[in-house]
Subunit: 440 residues, 2 copies
């Protein structure tokens, strides 16, 4: 059987391990950190993730979907909190029943590692870092007082070592390797809302959103009846308006009065005393395959800002697309990698751009009448013609339509929608209609 | 006096050394390669460079301009070679007398190293590589059989270690460091035309150009009466049409019959037997300064495709802008670096984009009637109003107007030029004029 070496036992690495375990390959997984199952506290990265269709399909193929979904909290709509702290508006994600699932990152990761380990053809090596030196796979052991470098032979190397991928950095001087990393001007800080009388302090089955123009607050429910709350704001706003815990308190009281009450003064002051805003990066590269045996997947290939909730889902879909491609190519690795990269680069570039665009939506657009009208129009047509008219958000979140096709379909919808606007306009001002038609 | 450590003794590193020698600082220059003055053959990088106003100004400030310009070959126009191999058209670069200078890279580099070394406050260390490890400047000696790593203390570190900068790569995981590298789909191969009867085989004082749509050939004169000839073509074209020396010969005979005659069959076959097409990359990053004491300049900060002839000129201008900024800031290094980066990022991003755009021009546009007409219109207005209307190419090449302002001015000119077109249109079709005016 072929041997695959996987760099990284995070979400995508662990899922890839499950896939190749099922395929019967020899699997070696090298993880830079210690086994998270043995850690009290896992540093870095946000706590919550929103699992949607692409992620679910990828988990289903290795028999993990139902178990994982059961461990999460379904969310059926966005609940927009107005600045008065008392009124809300509700925006369903899709048709009745369509939902995303709030999942705990750590729990999900632990389940997948344990699942992969059940196969006797899978071995995990924690505290081992993978580098590619002149395209040789070198594994550095970090668990000893001295570093030991070993060269590993593998038929396939999959880098799932995250946005700061050491494998990708080893490849950075490969000729004709396009790469970009772009930080956005916004940072984020995570907070918590504790249960109230042993119950959820807010409605659990929605995605809570406090859009305030250039900054925004979100909250997702956890199974332990807490909420993970995240504020996103420009770094300049953190510096100007939230530079001291006291200033942060005033900022929250003014902009998110209801959330402020639930977070509690002490927790807010303590968090802003301890924590600095974290940065957010988009990473694109092309190709994803190298030298016929190396493949970048997950954040190592395509880190994105979190505003479409697709980072994990896209990474999980990578595993599924790779499996499907290897199936089509009868395990011809070079052929499969090249085919995978050709299609996946296009799709991942698209979702990275969409994620960036969705930030605009979350920050502000959700409050615009024209946005709300379009959302209603989309859902109305979708109810009438469920296979023919699927709103953008639904195509991304509730289908496996390749991301680049999603955007093509949306462009076509925009044209139709433009015609709709002109129709409305024509009813009001018949003469204008002729004028506008010309420029459709 | 403050101490500056310069990574790289290439063109920009050596010029920076001259500048800081003049400033009286302690200067240490670390160069990865051996001293090029001791090498028989210098590997990599193209042989010819076109020196223009920005480069000249930068050389003048350290008293090197006249000597360097005297060693070059002035070029006053593009000479476009038609596919019949017999007819040409001539496009002056600017007003009579305005020219760029073809310079030999190696000679220029050697002169600048020697000039810098004349100051007793400058020391060169060849076969030494600079890395930043946790923002400590670590110099690795490569001239011994074993590597020796030394930590160096410096008030300022300037990375001039080229497009594949090791210093920049050490900084790649710094938070909020934007970076992109983009390879174009075209590669290049260099050839030579030897003298004919001890004279130039082509007119020396022009930039020779064979534009053929998606591929192109150029030739620049050297002082030894040879020409350096470069073919730029898509990699796919190299693979499909020039994969064997024989195919390359047929390709040249068909597309560049006059150049083929001068290159000679043997030289052409031999080159295509030995050499593979080299790739071309654009590199952008933001910021150029780090931690109040590290600055990226030259290709380490902004590699560009060679189609505007501004790579070296922009790198040289970096040295001059840095000097001017340190002057303004009275040698307050953190303040100067931050001010430098804020303005230089914008300017270098602009010239990188312009260089990419100019490829379109070199490949094809120069043959379009509308392009030629615009060129003539620009030069005509420039002659009438030399300070008010400067063509884009002239602003980039013959002035020190900051690159980003060049583009703003051009946008304004485009609006005026659009109006001109409509005026012409209105004379021919008076009724159309009213229609177009509406959409100006």
């Amino acid at each position: 059987m072929p041997k695959v070496a996987i760099a990284g036992a995070g979400l995508v690495g662990a899922l890839n391990a499950c896939y190749f375990a099922q395929r019967g390959w020899d699997v070696e997984v090298y993880e830079f950190r210690r086994d998270i199952r043995t850690l009290e506290h896992v540093p870095g990265r946000s706590i919550n993730l929103a699992l949607s269709q692409r992620g679910k399909c990828a988990l289903e193929a290795v028999g993990l979907k139902d178990y994982i979904v059961d461990q999460g909290v379904p969310m059926y709509a966005r609940l927009v909190h107005n600045v008065d702290g008392k009124t809300f508006s509700r925006q369903p994600y899709g048709q009745p029943g369509e939902h995303i699932v709030s999942i705990n990152r750590r729990h999900l990761n632990e389940v997948m590692i344990t699942q992969a380990e059940k196969s006797k053809n899978v071995r995990f090596f924690f505290e081992h870092k993978v580098l590619l030196l002149s395209l040789n796979v070198v594994v550095v052991s970090l668990h000893l007082p001295w570093k030991v470098e070993t060269t590993v032979k593998a038929d396939l190397v999959i880098a799932c070592d995250g946005a700061y991928s050491a494998v990708r950095r080893s490849l950075a001087t490969q000729p004709r390797f396009d790469y970009s990393q772009e930080y956005i001007g916004h940072g984020y800080i995570e907070l918590n809302i504790l249960p109230k009388n042993d119950e959820y302090a807010l409605e659990p089955n929605v995605f809570h959103l406090w859009p305030r123009g250039h900054f925004t607050l979100i909250a997702l429910a956890n199974r332990d009846k807490t909420f993970t709350v995240t504020i996103f704001a420009p770094f300049s706003e953190f510096e100007d308006k939230m530079s001291t815990p006291k200033d942060a308190e005033i900022f929250f009281q003014k902009n998110f009065p209801d959330a402020y009450e639930l977070l509690g003064r002490d927790h807010l002051l303590d968090t802003f005393r301890r924590v600095k805003p974290q940065s957010l990066v988009s990473i694109k590269c092309r190709p994803h395959d190298f030298a016929d045996f190396v493949l970048l997947t997950g954040d190592a290939a395509h880190a994105m800002v979190p505003f479409y909730g697709q980072g994990m889902n896209c990474g999980f879909e990578d595993c599924l697309v790779l499996k499907e491609t290897l199936d089509v190519c009868n395990d011809d690795i070079p052929k499969a990698l090249s085919m995978y990269s050709a299609s996946r680069v296009k799709d991942t570039h698209t979702i990275i751009d969409l994620a960036m665009y969705n930030y605009e939506e979350l920050k502000d657009l959700v409050n615009h009448p024209s946005y709300k009208l379009r959302k209603k129009f989309d859902l109305f047509l979708n109810r009438l013609f469920p296979n023919w008219w699927i709103p953008l958000y639904s195509m991304v979140t509730f289908t496996r339509i390749p991301y680049h096709e999603v955007v093509e379909k949306r462009k076509w919808q925009d044209k139709v929608s433009y015609f709709r606007k002109k129709m409305i306009c024509s009813i009001r001002h018949p003469l204008h209609f002729c004028f506008h038609l010309e420029f459709c």
